[in-house]
């Protein structure tokens, strides 16, 4: 098995940070014991869903592009529901450094990486604080 490595030195093509980002319509106030597991989005990208033939609880960067303002009004850049906090999103692509991957050859790559940090309502209905990564 080849040990894959994600090359550093990413060149951002699209990046954004948003704060005070309530999704789910409710604002969480304090952390309590609970599952700590957030809920998935209740809907997803119609484009991606049509492509794969099943509903995927996720929206593509093009649908949530904060720079163009052309986002679908129902598109949600987070991947967790009942969330209030800060979100960062980067969509980037490039060519890997052959000296920094196990295969020793340049490879095209692309990524969509997002962070979500703040409070969310977990599956037991409890308010939690946490940080999550979409990759």
């Amino acid at each position: 098995m080849v040990s894959p490595a994600i090359s550093p030195g990413w060149r951002p093509l699209l990046g954004a940070v948003a704060t005070g980002f309530p999704w789910g319509g409710r604002t969480a106030l304090a952390a309590k014991p609970g599952s700590g597991i957030p809920s998935q989005l209740p809907d997803g990208s119609p484009i991606i869903s049509d492509f794969f033939g099943l509903e995927i609880p996720w929206f593509s960067p093009a649908e949530v592009d904060p720079f163009t303002g052309a986002s679908d009004p129902v598109a949600n850049p987070t991947t967790i529901w009942d969330f209030n906090g800060s979100l960062g999103l980067i969509e980037a692509n490039g060519v890997s450094d052959p000296n920094r991957n196990s295969e020793g050859v340049p490879r095209r790559w692309s990524c969509d990486v997002r962070f979500m940090t703040g409070v969310f309502r977990d599956r037991t209905g409890r308010t939690q604080q946490g940080t999550f990564c979409f990759l």
Binding site: M1, S3, P4, I6, P8, W10, P12, G15, A16, V17, T19, S35, G36, I37, P38, S39, Q40, L41, G44, F52, L54, I56, P57, W58, T79, I80, S86, G88, I90, N93, R107, R108, W109, S110, C111, D112, V113, F115, T117, R123, Q129, G130, T131, F132, C133, F134, L135
Partner: protein, 88 residues
């Protein structure tokens, strides 16, 4: 690596975060390609629109293709992998 790279030879994601004992798959209620990370992995400066997101060697999977990651149809194997991120 990304969803529409062609030809695709790797596809890294952490699986779909779910409750303990439940499949890490979004069709079973998992949160799509999402995992918890340490709170310290994010530093934000909202006033200037800057952020730093970094973590090292977090466990995830290599599904090899996006179709395999989404459909889990056995068209490719699923291997353990790790990823590190440093974005600002």
């Amino acid at each position: 690596m990304g969803p529409f790279a062609s030809p695709q030879i790797h596809d890294f994601n952490p699986g779909d975060l779910n409750a303990p004992g439940q499949p890490n798959y979004f069709v079973n209620g998992g949160v799509f390609w999402t995992m918890p990370v340490p709170n310290t992995s994010v530093t934000i400066h909202p006033g200037v629109g800057e952020a730093h997101f970094t973590f090292s060697d977090l466990a995830m999977f290599d599904y090899f293709t996006s179709a395999n990651a989404i459909l889990r149809d056995g068209s490719a194997p699923i291997f353990d992998a790790t990823a590190s991120v440093d974005i600002q």
